[in-house]
């Protein structure tokens, strides 16, 4: 059963419960426990994490694999255990996007990806080498953070 929220950014938005994601730990430093993942168009590269608790809180996110060919996520054992990752179940990965007036200044946070599985999401610290907090989305020489030696991002 869908419901309606007032979003500062989007106005009145109809939320499909299937888009609701629980963040048991919130986003790092920001908190919040329930967000909806919104997309104007299923093909659009950018989606929005709209807080269901704070109408003014919405973060753009993207699928890092669309921009960074070699992107990988590695978490410390404690995180894997804590979050119940056993490597067998598929999950979606998103990274937050910092928008800027010019596209070439858009960056993605590859250091702290958001892993989503079965409606639950965790923002984790990515241990894979070379994963920047502010990785340019558009102006890398080859169009993305392609693998560079040992770098996974």
């Amino acid at each position: 059963m869908s419901f309606t929220i007032e979003s500062s950014r989007f106005g009145r938005v109809q939320i499909d419960p299937e888009t609701v994601i629980e963040f048991p730990e919130g986003l790092i430093g920001l908190g919040g426990s329930r967000y909806a993942l919104l997309a104007n168009d299923p093909e659009a590269p950018f989606l929005w994490l709209q807080s269901l608790e704070d109408p003014s809180m919405a973060l753009p996110v993207t699928n890092p694999h669309r921009f960074f060919a070699g992107f990988e996520v590695e978490v410390i054992d404690e995180d894997a255990e804590r979050l119940g990752f056993d490597g067998s179940s598929a999950m979606d990965v998103y990274v937050t996007v910092r928008a800027a007036p010019a596209l070439e200044n858009f960056t993605a946070n590859l250091k702290a990806p958001i892993l989503v599985r079965a409606g639950q999401a965790y923002q984790v610290i990515n241990q894979a080498p070379g994963c920047d907090l502010r990785a340019p989305l558009f102006n890398a020489p080859d169009g993305g953070g392609a693998p560079d030696g040992d770098s996974a991002c």
Binding site: R9, F10, I28, A44, L59, P60, R66, A99, F138
Partner: protein, 136 residues
């Protein structure tokens, strides 16, 4: 702030469940062991802080109203495979990674500010009942 002096091997209890142990003191470096309940994430402060700032910046940049038009077209070559799945271990699955060849197409096509493609932007406030479809 509570200040407690400890020697190597001594511990501090935070409540009943969290143990902080001084493992080793060597020069300017203290090695600390943390035994916390599973549900408690543990971060190095500087990393926690930079991620927090980045999250805030992402939310604020998005809210500032200075957003250029997000490109709404998927890269042609990446469109076919959108499974967006990655194993947590960072292991094998590279199947859903967009080939770099698609990147050039989308990087330079930003329309000038104010131009046509605004489909991904927020409607003016008060816009009626915008329905946003879930990603599939």
């Amino acid at each position: 702030m509570l200040r407690i002096s400890r020697r190597a091997g001594e511990r501090i209890m935070l409540g009943d469940d969290t143990i902080i142990e001084v493992l080793e003191v060597r020069g300017q470096t203290v090695r600390i062991g943390i035994d916390a309940p599973r549900a408690v994430p543990v971060y190095r402060e500087e990393i926690w802080l930079e991620v927090k700032r980045e999250n805030q910046a992402a939310a604020e940049a998005a809210a500032s109203g200075e957003l250029p038009n997000f490109p709404t077209k998927a890269p042609p070559s990446g469109a076919a495979d959108r499974s967006n799945e990655a194993p947590p271990s960072g292991a094998a699955d590279r199947s859903n990674k967009a080939p770099p060849s698609g990147a050039a197409d989308r990087s330079t096509e930003a329309p000038p500010p104010g131009a046509a493609d605004r489909s991904n932007e927020a409607p003016p406030s008060g816009a009626a009942d915008q329905s946003i479809t879930p990603p599939r």
